[in-house]
């Protein structure tokens, strides 16, 4: 194995994007950085074409909602993987509730297409420049983003449920 490890990766990133990286951590051995959402495209481009790190694979993209974090309510979490160096990286970008916007990364990783649509569907995070940002899993008529914490899990239109039986 080569010398690429979390320290090297973080140093490389901090050398280039020191102002945009708000924090860095290593929960369970996976380097996690919190990034300025405006910088997501340059950072991913840098990592993908980097001659040593070569982050060639987007493993996962998902949203998250922290209603208590004022100004940083909604987040997008990227999991990247470099097959050549077998190192993973987690990038988090947080956005305010009233303007949840971030650039799409579909131009870099095609796999992000549906995952961004899913995130839009679940959390209402808008991906600027996405080729087809429509609902993917839920019906088109749905007028809210169900995975946000304020919405309940259960079907609110049910009439056959007696709350007494469920201790409510």
């Amino acid at each position: 194995m080569s010398e690429v490890n979390n320290t090297f990766l973080l140093n490389e990133l901090q050398f280039q994007f020191a102002d945009s990286i708000y924090s860095a951590d290593e929960p369970y051995g996976l380097l996690t950085i919190e990034l300025d959402p405006k910088q997501i495209i340059p950072v991913l481009n840098f990592l993908k074409v980097h001659p040593i790190i070569h982050m060639n694979f987007l493993t996962d993209l998902c949203g998250i909602h922290y209603p208590e974090n004022k100004g940083k309510e909604l987040g997008v979490i990227y999991h990247l993987h470099s097959f050549t160096e077998n190192i993973r990286l987690r990038i988090k970008c947080f956005m305010p509730n009233d303007e949840p916007k971030i650039d799409t990364i579909t131009s870099i990783y095609g796999a992000a297409n549906w995952q961004e649509r899913e995130t839009w569907d679940f959390y209402g995070i808008e991906f600027i420049g996405h080729p087809n940002l429509t609902r993917i899993l839920n019906v088109d008529e749905m007028d809210y983003h169900p995975l946000r914490k304020e919405y309940p899990l259960e079907d609110q239109t049910r009439t056959d449920k007696n709350d007494n039986y469920f201790g409510r």
Binding site: P146, E154, D155, D160
Partner: protein, 180 residues
């Protein structure tokens, strides 16, 4: 071949060279033993249905050998698996495309009641959109249970009066689902 079972003859008048029985009974007998199921398999229960169709359980033994993927030629709609709200209209349309007489069997907890998925996106039982004749419990039901459900349907088919589909009660049932 000694333990070969054939269906029992319905009660009737028998003589040399003739057999007379109730027309209803004869039709019921024929229908019940040549059901063409339409598998509307959406998830896990569909895999158990595949096992039911395959060599070990072989649904063909009950006269349901011929799977009809076209609703037009199907007698029995087998709803297997979760029906999401997005899928509800599709299911209803499939039901409407079937010709009378038609029967519906809800296989599995999800199709019967929504199962463990009491969520915003899942239809809480297919009987919200179409009338159901037999419910098969289980998550997923074993092939034996699915076969049991089919035999229950066979009983219904066998004993159904010919006029049932024209009766006001049946029309009222369909009307309660908004089906003309």
């Amino acid at each position: 071949m000694s333990n070969l079972q054939i269906v029992t003859t319905p009660p009737g008048l028998e003589g040399q060279g003739f057999f007379a029985t109730n027309f209803e009974k004869a039709v019921g007998l024929a229908r019940a033993n040549s059901i063409w199921p339409l598998p509307f398999a959406t998830s896990c229960c569909g895999i158990e249905f595949m096992a039911t169709m395959a060599s070990n359980y072989d649904l063909g033994r009950f006269g349901a050998e011929r799977i009809s993927f076209s609703p037009r030629q199907a007698d029995l709609l087998m709803v297997m698996g979760t029906i999401a709200k997005k899928m509800g209209p599709v299911l209803r349309q499939v039901y409407l495309q079937m010709a009378e007489p038609r029967w519906v069997i809800a296989v599995g907890a999800c199709a019967s009641s929504g199962g463990i998925f009491d969520t915003y996106s899942v239809l809480q039982g297919v009987d919200k959109v179409i009338p159901v004749d037999v419910y098969v419990p289980g998550c997923p039901p074993r092939p034996e249970q699915i076969i049991d459900g089919i035999t229950k349907i066979q009983e219904l088919v066998k004993n159904e009066p010919l006029r049932r589909r024209n009766s006001p009660e049946y029309k009222a049932l369909l009307a309660s689902y908004g089906i003309e």
